[in-house]
């Protein structure tokens, strides 16, 4: 069993597991931090951005100044933003049988994989993951396509040039594989390859492996996966949460007894407590608004925003913010808000009970009804008429490189009354802000990452007790910035196996058993015997049938009836098939009893020519070093009996030999 690691990003994983005869891709996350190296795409022509000075090499060579611009000491690529794809060369991706999606954030690279690698398999995901994943992709495509940029920079990617560039451009990895965003057509085609699954549904892959999604508690429809055969179990844990937010709680019990547990998607901000971050978020928001400033919240169109809106719903009136408009601007804002209300069974218990009343599970329905929250597809159109300040705007993209957020950064950046509050943990806020410097606006960093922290992980591992843990290398050492915090790493026994991008791990795994079905007719014919208390044995001779990776044992065929007697030779003339195996024997022969039986006349019905089969009267027993020798003097037959062996030496008297053989077999156990 092997694990091919295609992504180096611990929260946006992409691994391929080869297990039995199947090739399973676990998630296909898209690393979007690469876009931080690019200039923002403004919705409205921005004089500031277009007048940024070009950057040239120290030797004064200015050929790069069309591609690279400088802003407050940072250098940016002036081009359509590009994303860092999972490794596509490590393994032939057309051999991937299935892709398992754990949550909507971890499927953003799907179109690249399904549309451009010869992939012909099936993708499995829950309905909320698909619907919200579609929204995220739609938003991304929309953000990038609506501001077409002619220029696509490539000179800087030249290795010889790249190493001359300032950090972080110099250190960017795999720049040659960076790709522009996919199209909506590719998104639709990719999503059409998805088959919907529900929690704890068992999906058979080629009869060899079964995969099962389990609730992971992180987002709507987010799942961990069990990949198992009858005797082996691999758990894939990706983006799980133990906090009670809106999704269904995490199913931990089903992860027990794993041979291998692959652990990805832990919190990116292990030192921040989500609850206190939400508190800070609310207080900073109200402070700014009360002072007459505007609040900008760069966010994804689904996920934490539901929780933030719920907090604000409870907070607005008590904080005296009821007159402040809240705007949610995204091409998929409406869809996201609507979809959240119909996935009742994917929600936590509290929210589920609401639908029995019947009430919408999320209170943002009421915020919309009372006009406190308004949503728009973009800043153009209705929004420009309704726009009132001061206000609170939720909009994307959290990287601050594209989307309506770019407009608000340009619009509000110059005033210190305004505040931008970062809640999404995927991008370091200082890097996100770099192309907007110098900035007068206040910047608050309240990253809300509800995924597992290291304390929760060690508790989880203690509880589910996997034999082996596999995780990204980042989790096996403290974060580089806090190298003294040895509590911020995975601590388990045996130590976790770590992987990095483009690595292949052999998982410590020995398969020993496979399931086989014994047909009822065969089962009926088995004769079990008790060897020890509680342990029984039965010898099985059966015909093995294997089809679609399923094995069945059927009773052996009855010996063929002799037909057309004349043509056939007598049975004894047939050369026996040496492949008919005889059972192994075990046990020992009690000599005394053996001899007694030999002496007694046989109980067989007297058959005329077997008349001589009466007891032997001339038996002599000699002791040897290891056992005994039984002599049938007249028959010139000698039987050596030892603890673990019996040797019958006789003349060519088949009748006698068979008789002795059967007597010996009577005393032995057959296997």
């Amino acid at each position: 069993m092997k694990l091919y690691c295609l992504s180096g990003h611990p929260t946006l994983p992409c691994n391929v597991l080869k297990f039995k005869s199947t090739t399973i891709m676990l998630d296909c996350g898209l690393d979007m931090t690469s876009t931080l190296n690019f200039l923002p795409l403004p919705l409205v022509q921005s004089p500031r951005l277009s007048n940024l000075p070009g950057w040239s090499l120290k030797d004064g060579n200015a050929f790069l100044d069309k591609e690279l611009k400088e802003c407050s000491g940072h250098v940016f690529v002036d081009s359509v933003p590009e994303f860092c794809l999972p490794e596509t060369e490590l393994i032939d991706l057309s051999t991937v049988d299935v892709i398992l999606i754990s949550n909507y954030h971890c499927m953003m690279a799907l179109p690249y994989i399904t549309e451009h690698t010869g992939f012909t398999g099936t993708v499995y995901a829950t309905e909320p993951s698909v619907q919200i994943g579609r929204l995220l992709m739609e938003e991304l495509v929309n953000f990038i396509e609506r501001v077409p940029k002619a220029q696509s920079a490539s000179l800087w990617k030249n290795k010889d040039i790249q190493r001359l560039l300032p950090s972080p451009l110099k250190d960017a990895v795999e720049v040659s594989t960076w790709r522009r965003c996919y199209t909506m057509q590719e998104v639709n085609s990719a999503l059409s390859k998805i088959q919907l699954v529900g929690y704890s549904q068992k999906i058979e892959l080629f009869g060899a492996v079964q995969v099962t999604p389990l609730s992971s508690g992180y987002a709507l429809g987010s799942s961990n996966w069990i990949i198992q055969s009858h005797y082996e179990k691999v758990s894939y844990v990706s983006g799980s949460s133990l906090l009670t937010t809106h999704p269904q709680p995490m199913d931990q019990a089903s992860l027990k007894n794993s041979d291998v547990l692959i652990l990805t998607g832990l919190t990116q901000i292990p030192t921040a407590n989500p609850d206190s971050m939400v508190g800070e978020f609310c207080s900073n928001l109200s402070l700014t608004v009360r002072n007459g400033g505007n609040v900008l919240v760069p966010c994804y169109p689904s996920g934490v925003i539901y929780d933030l809106l719920e907090c604000l719903y409870q907070y607005i009136d008590s904080a005296g913010l009821s007159s402040i408009p809240f705007y949610f601007i995204s091409p998929v804002a409406n869809s996201s808000l609507e979809f959240s209300q119909i996935f009742a069974e994917w929600l936590c218990h509290n929210k589920q009970t609401k639908v029995y009343l019947p009430e919408p599970p999320f209170p943002h329905a009421e915020l919309i009804q009372t006009n406190k929250l308004k949503h728009y597809p973009s800043i153009h159109g209705d929004f420009s008429n309704d726009f009132r300040q001061p206000c609170v705007v939720f909009t994307g993209h959290p990287s601050l490189r594209f989307g309506d957020v770019v407009h608000f950064m340009e619009l509000w950046g110059k005033s210190s009354l305004n505040t931008v509050i970062f809640t999404e943990p995927d991008f370091t806020y200082l890097e996100a802000l770099a192309p907007y410097q110098p900035l007068a606006m206040k910047c608050i960093y309240c990253p809300i990452d509800t995924r597992l922290n290291f304390i929760q992980v060690s508790k989880l591992l203690k509880e589910v007790q996997p034999l082996h843990v596999v995780c990204p290398e980042q989790y096996t050492q403290p974060p580089p910035a806090q190298s003294h915090r040895i509590d911020l790493m995975i601590d388990c026994q045996p130590p976790a196996m770590s992987y990095r991008r483009a690595e292949v791990l052999a998982l410590p795994f020995k398969r020993r058993y496979e399931k086989i079905e014994i047909m009822p007719e065969l089962a009926d014919s088995l004769v079990p015997m008790e060897i020890k208390p509680g342990v029984s044995l039965a010898t099985v001779s059966a015909v093995l049938h294997t089809k679609d990776n399923k094995h069945i044992l059927q009773p052996p065929p009855r010996p063929a009836q002799p037909t057309g007697g004349k043509k056939r030779k007598r049975a004894s003339d047939d050369i026996p098939d040496c492949k008919v195996l005889k059972p192994l024997l075990s046990g020992s022969i009690p000599v005394e009893q053996f001899v007694q039986t030999l002496e007694k006349s046989t109980q067989h019905p007297p058959v005329p020519f077997l008349l001589e089969q009466h007891g032997f009267s001339d038996i002599k027993v000699e002791d040897t070093a290891k056992g005994h020798i039984v002599l049938l003097q007249e028959a010139e037959t000698l039987i050596q009996i030892e603890e673990d062996s019996t040797h019958i030496i006789c003349d060519n008297d088949e009748m006698l030999r068979v008789r002795l053989r059967d007597l010996v077999l009577k005393f032995l156990q057959k296997f």
Binding site: E127, Q195, L196, V197, G198, Y199, Q201, H230, S335, I342, A344, E345, Q352, V355, Y356, P358, Y513, E514, K515, I516, E517, I518, E521, P528, I531, G534, V535, S536, L537, A538, V540, S541, V543, L544, T546, H551, L553, I575, P576, D577, C578, K579, V580, L581, K582, P583, L584, L585, S586, D644, S645, H647, I648, I649, C650, N652, V658, L665, L668, F671
Partner: protein, 636 residues
């Protein structure tokens, strides 16, 4: 012999009170827990004492599964859990769980109401309440103080706590979630399309399985998809058979007819009354009229009579994933259950002049608002009443459908019906064709019919037995059907043994069935099949070698070595398929059988061949001795 036992406690050759006991591989499952509306005495509920007379029910049943929210499938649940005292797991889908308490609560009010009616001698035919579709969901009935035959505990509270939800069984084929009741018992839900949240179930223990359909519909409609099932080949398929003998014409025709009739009546200024049940068909017909009104730009008002409808529509909005694909795809742009043309009805509207269409409950015109409106409009031949479902004998609906035009109302009044009476089947049950289709899809080994009339069942039973060549049963209530099963036994085979066998299976001469030989070790419930060697090793036993050495006397005057050579060439020519070798020490081997030639101690003209083999080579060894006994061919 393992067997599956099925006993209907209700719905055996009958419609109503669905309740079927299934015993499969030692697990007892109760399918549905319905009430019979035709009775007000004990017969209203299934006879649970059949399960156990003295013990606790919970000890006898592993779980209860409810297929959908109609009261003939879940109506006895409160009685079952509160009075009989079952507190084990109950499985149902989320919409069922959300909606069935409302129906139960409503029934409770009716039950009380009925008692009041009894006292005042204004009693309707009891059987009128047989179908849950009849239940008016109007909130107009007075809340009772206390009653003897109603369920006292607060129902909503009761229903929310002990049920286990079955995740959404999606309309899309291929997605059927699975629930594990315990280590052995699995439940799988399939989309049934009958009402919102209706599901069919596969109950599986090991390799034995039973599928129970509940009520289902094989044709998609405007708000629900069609039932589907995969080729799961259950031992038994328990299917409803309400329309065992009916084959309906195309749905499109029925819809067109319906719209035409409504349209014509409205055009001539008449009023249309459509008696319905508040959840289910009502939404379907509303969507139908709504789209028609929009397309034709009609102005006549459409009203919906009950206060609960809005609430009902709200459920539909929140349970969008359970509706059909089209609604799911478009709900963001337009939620199909937000009607523009359908408005709430007020009692006073009935007397307003001009055309209108009114949906009113209950569906069989036996009481409530639909009957009130009917009485007002019946006298005018311009008006029309359309009955969209089945009506039980004794109801006004049934009377007018059977052609009666003079109705005796209470107080010896006679109501003359001049309005047009139409019947349109919009029932969401599978018809005979649909049932056959489902049987064909699932490929069961046996079929068992419930939820239908005996006579019609008989017909369908014959048809199923003829077409699919499977046994078909139709037990009456309390009658047990026993099906012997022969489940295969799963065991673990050691990979070494399996691979060895598979590798040999690939050999070219593998035409003859090969025998796999191994030892099955049974320890507690753990069954493992291993090679005999491994079994011996695991049990710490030594192998006992059984060896035979046979002396074969040959007449041969030549030297021993030469005898050996002759033996070798003889065997080589006879045993073409075997490995025959002549070893340097003069001995001959056939496979692992050793043959040595020795001089006879007394007779120099005789040589003794010592043939030695182990028990594992018994057949070949025995064959060789008899072969050699016949002597060697003369050397040429």
């Amino acid at each position: 012999m393992p067997e599956i036992r099925v006993t209907p406690l209700g719905a055996g050759q009958d419609v109503g009170r669905s309740c079927i006991l299934v015993s499969i591989a030692g697990k007892n499952v109760m399918l549905d827990c319905g009430m019979h509306m035709g009775f007000s005495d004990d017969r209203r509920f299934p006879d649970f004492s059949y399960i156990t007379r003295s013990g606790r029910l919970t000890d006898f049943l592993d779980c209860v599964i409810i297929s959908h929210f109609h009261l003939d499938h879940c109506g006895a649940l409160p009685y079952f859990s509160e009075m009989v005292g079952y507190d084990g797991p109950i499985y149902m889908t989320q919409p069922t769980q959300a909606i069935c308490p409302i129906l139960l609560e409503d029934y409770r009010k009716i039950a009380v109401d009925k008692k009041v009616v009894e006292i005042t001698k204004h009693i309707h035919d009891n059987r009128a309440l047989r179908y849950v579709e009849l239940l008016p969901l109007s909130g107009t009935v007075q809340e009772p103080q206390s009653t003897s035959n109603a369920f006292t505990p607060p129902l909503t509270h009761w229903l929310l706590s002990p049920c286990i939800l079955i995740p959404s069984a999606c309309e899309t084929p291929g997605t059927s979630p699975l629930m594990l009741v315990d280590d052995e018992l699995e439940i799988k839900a399939y989309y049934a399309g009958h009402v919102l949240g209706a599901a069919m179930f596969q109950i599986k223990v090991g390799s034995e399985s039973v599928v129970y359909t509940g009520d289902y519909n094989m044709t998609p409609d405007r708000h629900l998809g069609a039932a589907w099932i995969d080729k799961c080949r259950p031992n038994l398929l328990i299917t409803e058979s309400t329309y065992a003998t009916t084959i309906r014409d195309s749905k499109r025709c029925r819809e067109r007819d319906f719209l035409k009739k409504v349209h014509e009546t409205v055009e001539r200024g008449g009023k249309v009354l459509i008696p319905v049940f508040a959840l289910g068909r009502a939404q379907e017909l509303c969507i139908l009229l709504e789209t028609f009104w929009e397309r034709m730009d009609l102005k006549a008002p459409i009203y919906f009579s009950t206060g609960l409808t809005e609430k009902a529509n709200h459920y539909y909005k929140l349970f969008i994933p359970w509706t059909n694909q089209k609604i799911r795809k478009t709900f963001v742009q337009r939620n199909m259950f937000e009607f523009k043309h359908v408005k709430a009805f007020d009692r006073a509207f009935a007397d307003s002049p001009g055309p209108m269409v009114v949906f009113a409950t209950p569906g069989m015109l036996h009481a409530g608002q639909s009957l009130q409106i009917f009485r007002k409009w019946a006298g005018n031949e311009k008006n029309m009443v359309i009955m969209p479902g089945y009506c039980v004998q004794g109801t006004v609906g049934h009377k007018i459908l059977s052609g009666q035009r003079k109705l005796e109302m209470e107080g010896r009044q006679v109501l003359e019906v001049k309005m047009q009476v139409e019947y349109m089947s919009f029932s969401a049950h599978a018809d005979a064709k649909g049932i056959m289709q489902l049987v064909g899809q699932a490929e069961p080994e046996n079929v068992l019919l419930v939820h239908g009339e005996a006579k019609k069942m008989e017909f369908l039973k014959q048809k199923i037995e003829q077409e699919f060549r499977v046994s078909c049963y139709m037990p009456a209530n309390g009658e047990t059907v026993t099906l012997p099963t022969s489940p295969s036994i799963p065991v673990g085979i050691s990979l070494g043994l399996l691979k060895r066998e598979l590798a040999q299976g690939l050999l070219p001469d593998s035409k003859k069935p090969r025998l796999l030989h191994g030892t099955l070790i049974m320890k507690d419930s753990n069954f493992r099949l291993v090679s005999s060697e491994q079994a011996l090793k695991e049990l710490g036993l030594a192998e006992h070698q059984l060896r035979f050495t046979c002396r074969v006397h040959l007449h041969d005057t030549r030297k021993e070595q030469e005898t050996a050579v002759r033996v070798y060439s003889h065997l080589k020519s006879v045993l073409k398929d075997h490995c025959v070798q002549h070893l340097p020490d003069g001995s001959v081997t056939v496979e692992s059988i050793l043959i040595q030639a020795a001089a006879h101690s007394e007779d120099p003209g005789t040589k003794v061949l010592l043939v030695s083999w182990t028990y594992q080579d018994e057949e070949l060894g025995s064959y060789l001795t008899s072969l050699l006994k016949k002597g060697l061919p003369q050397a040429s």
